[in-house]
Amino acid sequence: MVRGFLIAAALLIAPAAAFAAGDAKHPHKEHWSFDGPFGTFEQAEVQRGFQVYKEVCAACHTMDNLTYRHLGEPGGPFAAAGKWDAASGSWKDVHLGAPHHGSRYVPAPDNPFVRAIAEQYEITEIDPTTGQEITRKGRPADRFVSPYTNPYQAKAIHGVAPPDLSVITRARHDGANYLYALLTGYADPPEGETAPGGATNLHYNPYFAGGWISMPPQLMPDRVVYEDGTEATPEQMARDVTAFLAWAGEPKQIIRKKTGFATLIYLLILGGLLYAAYRQVWRDVKH
């Protein structure tokens, strides 16, 4: 009992330091378009993000769980709407973005923007009729092409396999803020601190657990030339690619939130009616 009181007293007097050595710096909380229950993605933002991913990240990182067709699904970076012309059997007046009057979403496999992106890639596969290896142009149904021919190559080239980016914002605590902080957070190491084992291929980044990361800083000013003319500052590129990866981690998140509102409204009305019924049933019963 006495020991218990001593402990309690000690707790009051000397709260221990909240962090141990080697803990990563906490990312700053950024404001994101997709934050919160009403958050959504701006198409221009995720398009720029896709461009950064394509021209920078994709050189080393895989994105196994995405297909090109996902890019053209409602809410995706290249979702497009148009009018179906039954006579010619094709889509007319196709434009990027949500449908307005008279038009509707072009199914992703028919989406011309998606087809154009997919066709930029070469797919290597075995021709089932000849058994020979062939290459063909990519199609919307193909998965994002890996920069590696096999899973071992990634580790062999880089020493550490760069993580797959399909769900990266969900695979890290406070994913979007962390990613942005990491991409923009490269710094000179504090005085006297060196990479573990004196490694020369590690880079100091206080947001990374342990402080030393294999990935070199990537987002130098004007690393990409944005098609929409936005100035490619490191912060802009980091924001855009984070938004794209946050979208890619769960392409259905906007429909998820919308369905959520409908469900909650339904349940609230149902709850209200049931409460009224409950009061009615129990009105004469003492309980």
Partner: protein
């Protein structure tokens, strides 16, 4: 309890069926005319809520199993495929994953309610024991299910838990290999876990039928813990309990929906979005929140007692923490059922709830985490320069690193002024209160509550006067409320 059946078949078909299989009569007697104590509060709606949870998990689970691939190469990606490409797969997968947490939240409230109102006492011992059996099956099912997405936490959680079986003498290792289907967590493990994860919910459903059967034999307990004496104490299940259960269930569904639609990742661990990698151990391996208290008890034992290793001791206590619930009806000696009339026991119960929550907190922390410390680290040294003489150095710091840093400064200065010499150092560590010690105290209370408080207090406590009937209890409550109002 149920009394003579009041069911009267109305149509020819019902009469025909009733003489051959009186199933409609059974449903009528169990869910329509069944007499329900009229003083039940909202804690009694969790039976219905749990029924909803079980059905939801089974229905969503069956659909998920149509799309999921139980293979170590494809499992992780097949879950992503469900979320991305299966129509409404994102919704079904979210409901199933969140549903597990909701199920446990509801079952914990249900169990604590039983504990507070003495629902385990005669004549409801078998009802309570069947409930504990359901809970054990639920934890097994949840553990198996958490392995299926084949993320880092799936893999390493399975590794840690199966590894604990090796603590059992002689048969431990064979049991572990038998569970894993090999020498490590691998494809055979995933396959059998999937098979069992599909099987156990139906076993749960079977035990739930027994649980409800036992309930309908003894009748429900109630917040006053008074047995039903006559019809004035009860109301028919339908419409009274039915409408209240429905209303409470919808309230629960609103909370459920908030998690499913707006906070789908809040209850999970980000590491489980990293595909399982047997070569890379995550820094902190933690189970899902609902198993954290037991995980804390498991890790609380960091010392061996004679032939019992720390690992085996932890395993025994963890098993004991659930096992003790089976004999709870015979540990509590109090004649009074509801803690509403037990002024002392009530406080011990509230502390018990707080202890369970604190154990959950401990389970999520690193066991070496320092919660508080008395004093500072001190490094004392005597320095004997080769030139002769003796100097004393002392450095302190809040952490060992800080003390070492401060000491290094002094040492360097001393060496610079007095020249090379011989150094002898001693480190004085302050008393540190770590998560492990906190878990030990909490574990002690957890077991003391069942093994000391309930048996002894039941004999020594003077309970408040218990009303003779439920009707009188309601009258007393109303009177008190009226007095307060006036």
């Amino acid at each position: 309890m149920s009394g003579p059946s009041t069911y009267e078949p109305k149509t020819g078909f019902e009469r025909w069926l009733d003489q051959r299989l009186p199933i409609v009569r059974m449903m009528h007697d169990s869910f329509v005319d069944y007499p329900t104590p009229r003083n039940l509060n909202y804690f009694w709606t969790f039976g219905a809520i749990l029924m909803l949870c079980l059905v939801t998990q089974i229905v969503t689970g069956i659909v998920l199993a149509m799309h999921y691939t139980p293979s170590i190469d494809d499992a992780f990606n097949s879950v992503q495929r469900i979320r991305r490409d299966v129509p409404f797969g994102w919704l079904i997968q979210n409901i199933h994953a969140t549903g597990a947490s909701m199920f446990f939240l509801a079952v914990y409230i249900h169990m604590f309610r039983g504990l507070y109102y003495g629902s385990y006492k005669a004549p409801r011992e078998v009802l309570w024991i069947l409930g504990v059996v359901i809970y054990v099956l639920m934890t097994a099912t949840a553990f198996l299910g958490y392995v299926l997405p084949w993320g880092q936490m799936s893999f390493w959680g399975a590794t840690v838990i199966t590894n604990f079986f090796t603590a059992i003498p002689v048969v431990g290792e064979p049991i572990q290999q038998w569970l894993m289907g090999g020498f490590a967590i691998d494809n055979p493990t995933l396959n059998r876990f999937f098979s069992l994860h599909y099987l156990l919910p139906f076993v749960i459903a079977g035990v739930v039928i027994l649980h409800v059967w036992a309930l309908h034999v003894t009748g429900q307990n109630n917040p006053d813990g008074i047995e039903v004496k006559d019809k004035a104490d009860t109301v028919p299940f339908t419409p009274y309990a039915t409408i209240k259960d429905l209303f409470a269930t919808v309230l629960f569904m609103i909370m459920f929906a908030v998690f499913v639609f707006f906070l789908p990742d809040a209850l999970g661990h980000p590491d489980n979005f990293i595909p399982a990698d047997p070569l890379k151990t995550p820094p902190h391996i933690v189970p899902e929140w609902y198993l954290l208290p037991f995980y804390a008890i498991l890790r609380a034992i960091d010392f061996s007692i004679g032939p019992i290793s720390a690992k085996l001791g932890g395993l025994m206590l963890m098993a004991g923490a659930i096992g003790i619930l089976f004999i709870l009806p015979w540990l509590d000696t109090s004649k009074v059922r509801s803690m509403r009339y037990r002024p002392v026991a009530r406080w011990f119960f509230l502390i018990f709830v707080a202890v369970c929550l604190a154990l959950g907190w401990c389970g999520a922390q690193s066991p070496d985490k320092v919660i508080g410390q008395a004093g500072e680290f001190t490094i004392n040294a005597t320095y004997k320069p080769a030139a002769g003489g003796e100097q004393t150095l002392t450095a302190t710091g809040h952490t060992l690193e800080a003390a070492e840093k401060a000491f290094e400064k002094q040492r360097a200065a001393t060496v610079a002024s007095a020249g090379a010499g011989e150094l002898t150092t001693t480190v004085v560590k302050p008393f540190q209160f770590k998560v492990t010690q906190f878990s030990q105290l909490l574990t002690l209370y957890y077991f003391a509550f069942f093994l000391l408080v309930l048996p002894i207090l039941g004999l020594r406590e003077t309970p408040n006067r218990v009303p003779e009937t439920i009707a009188k209890a309601i009258g007393a409550k109303r009177g008190a409320a009226a007095e307060k109002g006036a």
